[in-house]
């Protein structure tokens, strides 16, 4: 696949590598890949050799559970880091799959290690990122432990909005199916359908074909207020 590779210094995305000093970035061997919709960036069980960054595109990180049931661990888009779960581990515990054609950058672990060593601010910010990811993940554990299915579906929708945003029609951005909402919420498509129906009846969302249009984001979010949460600050 031919596509235009760009230099870090010219890149518009706001990824972690931007925290490195320019001179370090310039001599850094950064890989760039073009990944088609549906293709893997890395797979559960692969050896961890690199960290990845989304230059442009949308990606889902999934984990395979009981009887091949897929569970979406996280969504990522422009500037987001991928594969950091694996860092410090031998193999990736999750897979990353492109939701749409995407441009992905990579930095090998050795280079990353060297950069952290010579740039405290870089490694410190990366640590703060891990810390914040841990808080989000533990919040999610609590949500899964206490929410009803309907609430989990709302949680999933809010997560999608907060990650991918809304398009000009206030519809969920990106190729998100009911199946994928179910994989985030930890349920099945039927339940997602039923939950969406109820939200439609309450006027919080509408649907147009398969698109989900958000009429009242704030009220939607307030449905989860009892959990004392600012979900994705």
């Amino acid at each position: 696949m031919s596509f235009k590779k760009i230099k870090c210094s010219e890149c518009q995305c706001n990824c972690f590598m931007k925290l490195c000093k320019t001179k370090n970035i310039q001599k850094m061997p950064v890989g760039q890949y073009f990944v088609r919709k549906g293709e893997y960036i890395f797979k559960e069980g692969d050896y961890v050799t690199e960290m990845y960054f989304v230059q442009r595109g949308k990606v889902k990180i999934i984990s395979t559970g009981l009887d091949g049931k897929k569970h979406i661990v996280r969504l990522a888009t422009d500037g987001h880091i991928l594969g950091h779960r694996g860092y410090g581990n031998e193999i990736y515990p999750v897979s990353a799959i492109a939701l749409e054609d995407s441009k992905i950058c990579s930095v090998d672990n050795t280079t990353l290690y060297e950069l952290m060593k010579i740039n405290f601010d870089f490694s410190y910010q990366l640590m703060m990122f891990y810390s914040s990811e841990l808080r989000k993940s533990e919040l999610r554990v609590k949500c899964f432990a206490q929410m009803t299915v309907k609430e989990k579906v709302i949680y999933a929708i809010i997560y999608i909005i907060d990650t991918f945003g809304l398009d000009s029609n206030n519809a969920l951005n990106g190729p998100i199916t009911r199946q994928e909402i179910a994989s985030i919420a930890g349920t099945n498509d039927e339940q997602v359908s039923r939950a969406l129906l109820e939200l439609k009846k309450r006027g919080l969302i509408s649907t147009n074909k398969r698109k989900i249009i958000i009429n009242d984001y704030e009220t939607l979010k307030s449905c989860l207020n009892h959990y004392g949460i600012i979900l994705h600050p």
Copy 2:
């Protein structure tokens, strides 16, 4: 409360501060507290000013959910770090409560920051710790999303064993009630009772008074094998 404070260099526990060079540890202002069973070490909403380490004792980290429902996020014992979730955040998202009389050390954030700055290995190891905690937490999300209540109870028991170990009678160590197992598993005491009953019938555990005795740890663990998990390596 009077109790004997000891120097880091004399301390037997294997906490993170051991990764600092001796000369750094010695001049480090480390606080030490004696905390009685049931007392808070820090509370949800407190300002984050320090990191804590368990010198000796047992601690639960809880998060308050819907209608005051408590959810156990983590258990900690000798050498374990506490409060790291808060690091980089203004307030603690969780509370820490002593499960038994415990000795707790503390290091204020400024000191910690300085130590990380001058000791790359220390900050790198701390980052690896965050990375590994993140993997565990996301695994737990998946478990909560896919497991049945009975499996979650087994998950909780294994987690308790892997953290606190077993006593000389192969019984769960520490003052763990059904209520607490329920708070880890995300269910209620009645369901825990029923799940334990089934495990008793299968011969995997026995009970003596309120103590839970583990007869077959390996088979217990294998009940969760379909999740493709080494739970707490």
